[in-house]
Subunit: 334 residues, 2 copies
DNA sequence: TTGTAGGCGTTATCAT
DNA sequence: ATGATAACGCCTACAA
């Protein structure tokens, strides 16, 4: 920086201003400085800047895994929007494991993240204390719970699944089953199963009659879970899956068993992954607002970091996609 | 840090040592210090540390987009391995645009990235100068070109596509077509098309006879490109796609036109995305070693940053998956 | 609008 | 094995 200042015939203070608040330096001096910066290939030292300014303009995000395309897509939108706000993304993943997530949270704070994006509310309260101690604002995504003590941006997993289940019940199904991701340490999966039960209760069915199998997300695991469910007596006539991969596995297994979908059994998914559209039959599913979540999260977190404000939680709508795997819509009641 | 030192009855220097080289401090003092750290919830200041140590233990990566699952999967492996090496990931994306990529490269350097992972070799030489000036080691992924002036970890796009095309030619096809991603600013797509031509030439076919359509990656765009190719006279009997999404689009379009696959036209993809396995018929494709690339890249870059060494480029094998969309294997020549 | 100067929290060197 | 003490490079009142 001293070199730049010397070459432009100004003090380092002016160079600093020119970089951080161009408006506060005369256009001609600015041009001289910018030329010097270009000529010398100067790039400010990150450590020094962070130390002096007490911020890094960096936002950390910890997601379960990029292997799940819904998180990848949400993050893509988040990262792009972050850049537009002048922020950079520090990324870590937890593999759905609370212990790894905790380690990553501590790491990202130690790496100077000005703010953090986390998936779901549920984690050790001590972690929230740690973040508060270090004055690191947190935004929670992928859920919407206005009662939570932290701002969030997302959708109502329970309501979305309740709506999908209602569509299933509309088609006359009575024996329902669910293939869910593991519900331990995961409020999203739990809310989705709760949504199925809520819809059943609303129609006078016994929520306890719901057959539930939990398994990690995957086509293979979904197929195994489907085999298990189809072996039960009485056999469910509709299988509501907590994720599209599980739904694809169920679809495959149904076909392998010679069952017609939706003739013998209806199947639904959740997430609206690309592969659901090319499935045969296309998989009915819940489209979640990844992109809007990512973009909104970037704006909210940037505001939280810059102004220290605590924004209201934002709820984004899901869309229920009634595709062929669910079966045709019933005749509308006169 | 001063608080910790005071509480543990030592100097800040010892605290620093305890954090950075625990072996160099007596076990008992270490315990006192660690207790103090826990009690106070101390976390070292990143800026100060970076300034003094002249490193951030942070690696930057710039990929085209996380919306493409092959990059998402590669990055997941990269990030996980990075953590095991004690490094953290700074992530940016370019949307396949050289101007945005350049901006991101400069940003990540300014954000203190100790090293950079980039996709493909092709970019403005001035950028490589900039990186050299700032002593930021670069590793290129997703390609393998031992002749390049930089280390890389990846696979030989041309050879992989040549192998796939050979399999196509084995089945007696003579009129070939390719649906490729845009080849401008993209050495991977270019290499893949070159691979198709090389295989043709090796069999005595005229490489110039290859029908090529370029379009962005996507199912919809792939379908459009397929419609265009099928309208040509003579009509190609095999369509070799540079990406699975394009292949899925071609598959869909073929079916929409009443063409049987592989009866009337064979279709192949590239990348082995999950959706290719659930397609009907399953899409023949090239499986690329995302995970190994990511893991290897993390180890190589960490070494480059820590020891300042320049490793040899690493070539990883692809696998040709001869699925139903390609058609049955010919009788083996006696 | 521009220059001066103190301080940001660690690391690392050099004694002890 | 531990302590004292210079850097590290920039930002930001404050003064001019």
């Amino acid at each position: 920086m001293a070199d730049v200042a010397h070459r432009a015939g100004v003090s380092t203070a002016t160079v600093s201003r020119c970089v951080n608040a161009p408006a506060r330096v005369q256009p001609e001096t600015r041009e001289r400085i910018e030329a010097a910066i270009r000529d010398l290939g100067y790039s400010p030292n990150f450590g020094a800047r962070a130390l002096a300014a007490r911020r890094t303009d960096t936002i950390g995000a910890i997601i379960p895994t990029l292997d799940n395309s819904v998180f990848a897509r949400g993050l893509q939108a988040f990262q792009t929007a972050l850049v537009e706000h002048g922020m950079t993304l520090l990324l870590a993943s937890s593999s759905y494991r609370p212990d790894l997530e905790e380690a990553q949270i501590r790491t990202l704070v130690a790496r100077g993240a000005d703010g953090l994006l986390l998936i779901g509310h549920e984690r050790d309260p001590a972690l929230y204390d740690f973040l508060a101690l270090h004055r690191v604002p947190v935004l929670v995504a992928w859920v919407h719970d206005p009662a939570a003590p932290r701002p969030s941006v997302g959708f109502d997993n329970k309501a979305a699944m309740e709506a999908m289940t209602s569509a299933v019940l509309d088609r006359g199904h009575v024996r329902l089953a669910t293939i869910s991701g593991h519900t331990r340490f995961n409020d999203r999966t739990r809310d989705r199963v709760a949504g199925v039960r809520a819809a059943m209760a609303a129609r006078g069915l016994d929520p306890a009659a719901l057959a539930v199998v939990e398994t990690p997300y995957g086509i293979e695991t979904g197929a195994q879970a489907m085999a298990e469910l189809m072996a039960r007596d009485p056999r469910p006539t509709a299988v509501i899956c907590g994720n599209d991969l599980l739904g694809m596995g169920a679809l495959r297994q149904a076909r392998a068993m010679g069952l017609r979908v939706p003739g013998d059994v209806s199947i639904t998914g959740f997430d609206d992954m690309e592969l659901s559209t090319v499935a045969d039959p296309p998989l009915a599913t819940v489209a979640i607002p990844h992109a809007r979540m990512g973009t909104t999260a970037a704006a909210m977190l940037t505001g939280m970091v810059r102004d220290g404000t605590r924004p209201d939680s934002v709820a984004l709508p899901c869309e229920i996609l009634l595709r062929a795997s669910l079966g045709p819509a019933p005749l509308s009641p006169a």
